[in-house]
Symmetry: C2
């Protein structure tokens, strides 16, 4: 007889009922060929003795196996393993997907990931101790304790939790109401709750806007260099991307006008505060001109104002969406920068009709967000915690920016060049061609530092050898350590 006691070990601390464990293990052994077709299983009483289980448990397991077709009942003999098993080997998933007939050609670069799902700048990267991100906030400073206190208190309120079942995908009403006030106070935006959609991060708002505005073959204008993930969205829609230079005042509006005269442009994607990646701010004059051109050439503007809340030396400029927008602007922002990259709450502001379509699309993509978290955020917006936090971190981030600049000027003067940004969380750091970032990132990995390989922002024609150095999430000590490691890699 097979050693059933070792083949079928029961884990009493597991949450799974014992009869299910028996069932699953027997199926597993049948599949693996350990228990063969035609085998007569021990009687229920005998098996109960072997496995030290109640006989009823074994009866339940055998019944289950029979119901699923793995065993058959032979009257007066017992249960035998079926001869005509539907499947006799364990089914692994292959690497090749011969089975699916699917669209396997996703546009855009596909970054290599290792087994752990991590982006790999180089094959020998260890799990890094230090990470240079491309502009994340320092969540150690964020009012996460307050946020989670609000969250916990709401978990006990059944009507809040149950609201998800009747609320559509626009976001929780309390957060949308709090946003009306907050957007008016901070950005001069005049709107109603009907104009706001809460999304799972700002990225989802970009995806929704692009889905609604662009179809295959349509023209869209973006800044170059630009935010590659937005470009990938436009490519996914099949849009034709017109790349327009970005100078120190933002996107080049003469080039935009030229493009509009040549092509029937459907949309323009613009990052007015701290253009991604170069961190420049779009000047007020250009903002006005873009709004006029949108009307003149009949295109829509996707305004991705992810960095509005972070300014160190001057006030931010009001959004295009606060200006003469002619219902042509889709305004996008996020709370991930104010709090933590893990808090995935973004928003879209647009005219009602457009927004209703976006709500429909958001719903079929992911139904809705975490409404309890949304209501918790609403509380922090209303009680001023978010504004106070922003005031505090603007001061700290400004100091970190200055500290990083000092270190760069001292240790990497001949290696990098940059323009100190007015705000935001990153410096656009261009490395001299003698120091390829592809090599630096590999060397840095050996010191436990992750920095990207400088290829993220490359367009088909240009290699920048540059990265966004996110200084906001690193304290002085960490900034110092990072610069020291980079200095080692270039010497």
């Amino acid at each position: 007889m097979l050693p059933f006691d070792t083949l079928i070990p029961i884990d009493k601390s597991s949450g799974l009922p014992a009869y299910q464990q028996v069932t699953h293990l027997i199926i597993k052994h049948i599949r693996n060929g350990v228990i063969k077709p035609g085998l007569l299983l021990p009687g229920t009483r005998e098996m109960a003795g072997i496995l030290k289980l109640h006989r009823k448990t074994i009866i339940a397991a055998y019944d289950e196996l029979t119901a699923q077709g793995w065993t058959s009942v032979i009257p007066r003999k017992g249960f035998i393993v079926s001869e005509d098993l539907p499947e006799i080997k364990p089914k692994q998933w292959d690497k090749d997907t011969t089975g699916y007939a699917f669209n396997s050609k996703m546009p855009g670069p596909f970054y290599p990931i290792n087994k752990m799902g991590l982006l790999t700048p180089a094959p020998d990267t260890k799990q890094p101790n230090l990470i240079v991100d491309d502009g994340h906030p320092d969540s150690r400073l964020a009012p996460m304790v307050q946020l989670h206190r609000e969250y916990r208190s709401r978990l006990k309120q059944q009507h809040v939790v149950k609201q998800v079942s009747v609320t559509l995908s626009a976001g929780t009403p309390k957060l949308r109401e709090a946003m009306v006030t907050y957007m008016a106070q901070t950005r001069g935006l005049q709107m109603q709750t009907e104009n706001i959609l809460i999304t799972h991060g700002a990225q989802m708002s970009i995806y929704l806007a692009a889905s609604l505005l662009l179809k295959s073959g349509d023209y869209v204008i973006v800044g170059e260099p630009g935010y590659y993930v937005a470009n990938q969205v436009f490519e996914h829609m099949g849009a034709r991307i017109i790349r327009v230079p970005v100078d120190k005042h933002g996107i080049d509006i003469t080039a935009v006008e030229d493009a509009c005269q040549k092509y029937p442009v459907k949309a323009l994607y613009v990052i007015p505060h701290h253009h991604h990646p170069t961190t420049v701010t779009l000047s007020p004059e250009r903002r006005m001109r873009l709004l006029e051109m949108a009307e003149q050439f009949n295109f829509s503007i996707i305004e991705d104002d992810y960095d509005y809340d972070f300014h160190y030396t001057s006030s931010p400029y009001l959004p295009l969406a606060a200006g003469n927008h002619h219902n042509r602007v889709v305004y996008i922002g996020s709370f991930s920068k104010a709090l933590s990259a893990t808090i995935r709450i973004g928003f879209m502001i647009a005219a009602t009709d457009f927004l209703r379509q976006a709500i429909y699309l958001r719903r079929i993509i992911d139904l809705r967000g975490d409404h309890v978290m949304e209501e918790s955020l609403a509380a922090l917006l209303s009680n001023g915690d978010i504004s106070r936090h922003l005031k505090k971190v603007n001061k700290i981030y400004c100091e970190r920016r200055d500290y990083l600049c000092t270190l760069l000027d001292t240790h990497l003067k001949d290696v990098v060049h940059y323009t100190k940004p007015d705000g935001g969380m990153a410096i656009w750091l261009v490395f001299d061609k003698r120091y390829p970032l592809s090599e630096i990132s590999v060397k840095a990995a050996k010191y436990g530092l992750f920095i990207n390989n400088g290829k993220l922002f490359d367009s088909p024609d240009v290699h920048y050898n540059a990265l966004r150095f996110g200084f906001a999430s690193l304290n002085f000590e960490e900034i110092k350590e990072v610069v020291e490691i980079i200095t080692k890699t270039v010497n």
Copy 2:
């Protein structure tokens, strides 16, 4: 002179710097026409006196206004409001979206929402006290305190929080590893971390699978009646939907075969446990046959096994994805049912190549999930909290189901008919045609009860006058109250 002290009230408790408040308010009044072009603003010293602010604050505000083009400096006179203002009226967002040239015709029904973003079964609905959802768990029973304890402890670990910046969108490695074990133990699925993608709810997995498998004009088979949000996804892809009857053993496989012989079917969407909405379980024989047909007719299977963890009288059947799947199955599930509808963590399991494309697409849709929450869930999976919780709630939900059935048999015998489901969180409750749910839902709303109007599951040709009565999220008292209200509405 204008009453600047009342026009420009400064809120010292606000987080916004005073100079920004002054700037924004002056811009607001210029826009509203209160402060006219050509007006000479009070000198900085005078304005500081009026507003009881430091003179430096006023200088900063005036400089900012000038930088933004709202005022100009007249040497030796001061600051005047610019004559050539780019915009002079406040821009509201219109209802009509004349500005956007967008695809305004979303497919499928668009449910009316009221100003609060709530689905309105009737215009006079108050915010409901009681809600009958379509099968949500009772989050009051879920280990949310444990989950949030894990969350808080991770917030302090910078490397966990920072991991988001290097981790791609597949989900946190710890959760994917925990899933490999959990899926093998509970579902007999044999796979690696490379086969798992964590998504923002199961809905996102459906959207991703449909995006990859279907293009405009492709045929997809679904059960009828069926899960309307999945159907809306397929419609959005431009797919042609073939509706196949669902009987008490699940989707009708003869009808599936007929359809495959007539049309080049690309995909089949199946809900094996507790078909949505009718709650029937797909029999093991039909599972085998579907897998064979997928190979024979060259289609892929989207297996939406949202209800696998909830069985009251028997063990669940193993998924199609655990069988002879020929790399043709995309297996989809969620933790929203195990924990709370607010926890939006779903997953997709498929062959590696397919999954990598899904990861790419997920990334451009919403970058990633909340990795801290994902790691917290991983901890609860690994320490057995989830399994123990499921064991506990299966007992409680079973009792709630039985209690509801008793009440229905007692009070609504002639009004509704239903088949008691083996598991899951809802009963498919068909109302007699004499009692239209459209009327019942309106009446119920007056008693503070939200139930849907029975139209959600209608196909173009069929009106079911039925709803999914989610019993799991209601305790005995609440179930009793709901049945009492429904009873009142039909008498």
